[in-house]
Amino acid sequence: MRITRIARQGARSMGAHKLRSFFMMLGTLIGVAAMVVVMAAGAGAKANVMSRVAGFGSGALMVNAGGGRGHSMPQEGVVTLTPQDADAIRAQVRGVDIAASQAVKRGASIKAGSAQAFGTVLGVEPSWHAAWDWPVERGRAISEEDMLTMARVCVIGATIERDLFGGLDPIGQTLQLDNVRCQVVGVLAVRGTSPMGGDMDNRVVIPLTTALRRVFNQEHLASIRVKLSDPRRSQATADEIQALLHERHHITPPAEDDFAIVSETDVTQAVSGIEGTLTRLLTALAGLSLLVGGMVLMNILLLSVNERRKEIGLRRALGARERDVLHQFLAESLAITLLGMLLGTAFGWAVALGLGATIGMPVALTWAPVAIGAAAALAVGLGFGIQPARRAARLDPIKALA
């Protein structure tokens, strides 16, 4: 077809002037690359937020020991949060389904024979499993009887199981926690990543009474997990809990709270806020680069129309119509931006994967940026190519040849 023959002339001109073409495609290349990185980071961040929020669990609140905002962890050494607070929340706050106490020791050394692992030891009430929607996968959960007898039993997470027992069945085996030996009675379902990005499967869960009396030797809790009967009343319930704890801990605002209530919304905001800044920055870079690149493309193409007056005049003398010349220059412009798009996509993927590997930025490669990049390349190629192409088409062949 005539149009394809003419388009090939345009594409060939791109190949014949490699350096010039490279400068013309640079803006599109960088713009598309930035966009690919943005979208890879965005998709990665979204997947990350989703998994972290899933780790927190839905329809729940955390009451953490110690003040502070956002999704801060319970502060160690704060002794004001007690099992009696949990009892009061259970008894007095409306819309609370479960209030499960937990005591925590992080970075605990856990041994089985000669194998050693580090993980988080949790002392929990039996309702803890339901409060976290976190059942055992094998064996049994922590029971009321365990609580009453301060039983030396534990339920372990998948990471601990793997690190200490390899492929062997851990149930019935014994663990050493500080000076206390516990028998493994169950294995927790795999949970994945916490809102803070930590491994949630490195847990050793023991009865709360055992933890407080035999292992930690303390009276206070790290946090209380509250499961709501109506997730939509999350804020109201949080307010009631705050009022109750103010009263119980004798706190009068503006004095600072010695506890922090964290909701699902807090976690989502805190996690996605970090990536949001980077995304906006890169998106601006992508847009700016496409725009500047388009201007550069247009101006170099305008210069080249001037330089190639003779060629244009010749083509017209040999039978090219005005619109044949228009099409040739548009084809050249499009060939440049589309090649820029392809190289930019490859470059962007490489950068995204590189960032993922080096700074651990979560990335997910999707096809969406390829489609958007193609659309952007088309828009830049046509939008900024049209003026030079028109100028070329309107050249008077006689003057061009002179």
Partner: protein
């Protein structure tokens, strides 16, 4: 085949107006070989542009193959140039970084139907101008004479009714010029219609007929009783230069 009926061409308006051609009338029959002569500024190029469909008359009628060119729009003129005219320019106007063969095939890009045997045709016309062994050379690898013959091959690829040459020997040495005129001679013998614009009387005398332009009008129109023979001219040149030991191999290229 070509009819010019009181054709005028004026450039500009009012006081600055230039009348490049005034009431020019002539006709060229199919198969004629005509030279248009004249000093600089007498309207030769203007006449060429009109003949080639690159421009249209300000007044009067130009008919090519019975078609009034004034009635054609850009598409019509472009198609006319593509199908009926073969241009040869003083400056060759070949595309750089493009092989001789690809240069020759360029007009076919603008034809409605790209012929299936395009390459074979390109090779044939290149052979006809004595460049069978230079098809894949780029312009910067060819001599001026060879470049101009590539341009002639390009002009012939669409088998045009009219071959139009504007000072085709203007940038060539004497020998290359004669070689080009030798190609024209054979094309003329094959029945091709040729119009050559030149200010060089010796070049003009290779044609059957000379029309002389002066101040935009035809001042003289004469038959050449015995046109010069380019091949004989080449032999004479070779003999004189051969004696001086400066024979160039290109002389043997033209068949």
């Amino acid at each position: 085949m070509i009819e010019f009926d009181r054709v005028s061409k004026t450039y500009g308006e009012g006081a600055g107006q230039v009348r490049a051609l005034q009431d020019v009338s002539f006709s060229v029959a199919a198969g004629e070989y005509v030279a248009i002569m004249g000093a600089s500024g007498t309207g030769k190029s203007t006449l060429m542009h009109l003949l080639g469909g690159l421009d249209t008359p300000s007044a009067g009628v130009y008919r090519l193959d019975g078609v009034d060119v004034a009635g054609l729009n850009d598409d019509g003129l472009s198609a006319l140039r593509n199908r009926k005219i073969g241009f040869v320019f003083q400056q060759f106007h070949l595309l750089e970084r493009t092989t001789a063969l690809q240069n020759v095939l360029l007009p076919l890009i603008y034809a409605d139907d790209y012929p299936a045997d395009a390459e074979a045709r390109g090779r044939r016309v290149l052979e006809a101008v004595g460049l069978g062994d230079r098809m894949d050379h780029r312009p910067n690898e060819l001599s001026g004479g060879q470049q101009q013959r590539v341009a002639v091959a390009r002009a012939l690829i669409n088998d045009p009714a009219l071959l139009l040459a504007d000072e085709p020997t203007g940038n060539l040495d004497r020998q290359s010029g004669l070689q080009l005129l030798s190609v024209f001679k054979r094309l003329h013998q094959q029945g091709r219609t040729i119009i050559v614009v030149t200010h060089d009387e010796q070049v003009a005398e290779h044609a059957d007929r000379i029309r002389v332009l002066r101040d935009g009008r035809i001042a003289d129109d004469r038959r050449v009783p015995e046109p010069r023979d380019a091949d004989a001219g080449l032999e004479t040149l070779a003999a004189s230069e051969g004696a001086a030991g400066a024979q160039q191999p290109e002389a043997e290229v033209v068949p």
